[in-house]
Amino acid sequence: MSDNTQAISQKAQAESKDSFGFFRALAAVVWKDLAAELRSRELLSAMLVFALLVILIFNFALELDPKTRSTVSSGVLWVTFAFAGTLGLNRSMSMEKDRGCLDGLLLTPVDRSAIYFGKAIGNLIFMLLVEAIVLPVYTVLYSVNLFNLGLILVIVLGSIGYIAIGTLLASMAVHTRTRDILLPILLFPVAIPVLIASVKASAGFLGGIPIDEIMPWLNLIIAYDVIFIAVAYMVFDFIVEE
């Protein structure tokens, strides 16, 4: 190898090892998503209206007695979160596709996983905001007290797993013409372990079941969170490249 080629190679390696650059890029992507949403309010309003409609429809459709209400609450909540979350994931990636912005992001000299984590954190913030509004409304409509620290922990952990894999699959689906339909078809089967574990753990906390019996479900959610994040970190680069 000539001296010149070696010098260029070393310079490229040094540039690619800029860890401060990773967090700077990640923060920039999160800021960009929040700033754009603050202006348009398209994503949050769509997610919120959809989520509120779902719990309202369930409330009238099921006509439950107080005892049954507390047992179905975790299922209704997670159906609502999953559908509203899918809506948000679709919209978040469509925004990148409009005007070729995804190419603009991929052309920047940052580690592509910073783009993935930036998008995922933005999506998680939107999903948690919607959940924070849905919980008190649900409490009023169903007369079930949802202000339980254990339940909130499950909601945060479950949302992390759902968004981690959802952001990855949304970045795959966005390249297709049928992205609105494709994302739920891809996402729901893959996210089922996290959703089932979240429903079971939520039901456990709402039903006052001892923590020892809930822990296996919590561990399952944490394990899937780690797996989904690790997989996304490893494959995002290949998914977004032609």
Partner: protein, 235 residues
């Protein structure tokens, strides 16, 4: 500055680029001409690291693709017929976002200078989605020059622009080229290419079919040159 050897790009069974060789010296402005489907956009996407070559060697600014893609991206500015800008952010916010992604130093001053360059200082606080197509394209050039790249790639930048917007875009392109940057621009508009470029290459059937320097051809002969090359008359 750009060195491409025996580049092949396949999509499934379809071969788009068939052993393409292409070299550009620092400071050159190359107009890459060719019929629809010749592979111009695919070629620029490979040069910009958005697509991987199937075979062959690609070097931009001395760095190898796809292996040293991040180093190439740092030295590259790309303008396509899409603006690559966020409609719900204003011009200032768009440039600041990209400035952070490129780690541009003294970002405030740089954003101010770039908005001045593309003539959008007065509209810097307006959302990009309220801009005309011409203004979006000028801001797209601003985004592409923000980090002061050594190489610029333009993929049919005049698409969808009216006459006035095209003239304004040409002025910005001249200014970009006058600063010594290496430029490759694909275009279907021979008259505009003749006005801007220092060299004309014709991409046809997946290879560079012909190449001529600006000083060696009269602009009136460019159409004949292009037709002959695109139809396989020049080797």
């Amino acid at each position: 500055m750009i060195d491409v050897r025996k580049l092949i790009k396949r999509f499934g069974l379809k071969t788009v680029l068939r052993g393409l060789d292409f070299r550009v010296q620092p400071g050159e402005f190359v107009a890459l001409l060719g019929p629809n489907g010749a592979g111009k956009t695919t070629f620029l996407r490979i040069l910009s690291s958005l697509a991987r070559p199937s075979m062959g060697e690609v070097r931009v600014a001395g760095y190898r693709l796809p292996g040293q893609a991040a180093a190439v991206r740092r030295r590259l500015g790309v303008v396509s017929h899409l603006p690559l800008l966020y409609g719900d952010l204003n011009a200032d916010e768009n440039l600041r976002f990209y400035g952070r992604m490129y780690a541009v130093s003294d970002l405030n001053q740089r954003v101010k200078d770039v908005l001045e360059l593309v003539g959008l200082s007065a509209r810097r606080r307006d959302l990009v989605r309220t801009y005309s197509r011409g203004m979006q394209q000028r801001l797209a050039i601003g985004r592409a020059v923000l980090h002061d790249p050594e190489v610029m790639l333009f993929d049919e930048p005049h698409t969808g622009l009216d006459q006035d917007a095209c003239n304004m875009l040409d002025n910005v392109l001249r200014e970009v080229a006058a600063r010594g940057r290496t430029v490759v621009m694909t275009s279907h508009d021979l008259a505009r290419a003749a006005d801007l470029a220092s060299r004309f290459d014709v991409l046809s059937r997946g290879v560079i079919a012909a190449s001529v320097a600006r000083e060696k051809i009269d602009s009136r002969d460019l159409l004949a040159f292009y037709r002959q090359a695109a139809n396989g008359g020049i080797t």
